[in-house]
Symmetry: C2
Subunit: 131 residues, 2 copies
DNA sequence: AAAATATATTTAGCTAGGTAAATATATTTC
DNA sequence: GAAATATATTTACCTAGCTAAATATATTTT
């Protein structure tokens, strides 16, 4: 089998696990953080906006969003269109946000220490060329 | 957040989904194929050998292996050391193996069509430099 | 305005990764 | 050889992706 795919899957799994270690002290998982980050960036969002933006399926977002509501990270309310639900960061999330972001930035920097800025750019470009 | 990680996760998810589409006609999922392929390559293997080789945790392999036994793809037997279980491809799997491998090879080639051989090598090297 | 279609979300159930702890058997130590 | 430790596997239970089908509400068509 093509070693490229093997390397890709191995590395992604490794990174996900490491992100989870990093986020443990904030009591968050990788995907939960991804959703929080997306919501913060956009202010207020409907569930559909979230899953379209993240390029995952709707049920995945339903589940993660409700877990985040349960954990007190986000608030949810009905939209004007009564089919939709609008979410935004809770008070707690807004307060903790920059500390968590700091942890993630440190983590990301550590992971790419072995790459120059140019190599990072090339890597992104090459990844985009797959399919 | 670092666009490299975003691209990496997006691409991996995309590839997993596409592999699953490719494998659908063989009634297999991506991880099941990975395990089958590993077993075929090594002949006979204990569960521990599989999870160490694939760099995943033991319970993941226990589950996938038993599903593959259930589906008739592999045979399982106790080892000399009575703690361990040894697996190998079933008759059916041995017969179908090359057809499935062919599908996968086609798929992989299609995915890297946009890359030269050199770019593929560079991509692997750059991925290895992460952490 | 009723019927048909479209959109937003949810529910159910599958694969697939993880951790923590339990169980069974081997191996090592005292 | 009994006790302690190590190894192989399993069980229970999380997160996190997916598809297919259900439900509720909007929008479009006739």
């Amino acid at each position: 089998m093509n070693p490229l795919f093997h390397e890709l899957f191995q590395k992604t799994r490794f990174l996900t696990n490491e992100i989870n270690v990093t986020l443990k002290k904030h009591n968050l998982y990788a995907s939960q953080w991804t959703v929080l980050y997306t919501i913060q960036k956009h202010g207020e969002m409907s569930l559909t906006q979230i899953w379209k933006y993240l390029n995952v399926e709707a049920p995945t977002i339903t589940r993660t969003v409700y877990r985040l509501v349960e954990l007190g990270w986000i608030d949810i309310r009905p939209g004007k269109d009564r089919r939709e639900k609008i979410v935004r960061l809770s008070e707690k999330a807004s307060q903790d946000f920059s500390a968590i972001k700091e942890s993630i930035l440190e983590f990301e920097d550590r992971m790419v220490e072995g790459l120059t800025k140019e190599e990072e750019t090339i890597l992104i470009e090459l990844l985009r060329k797959i399919k």
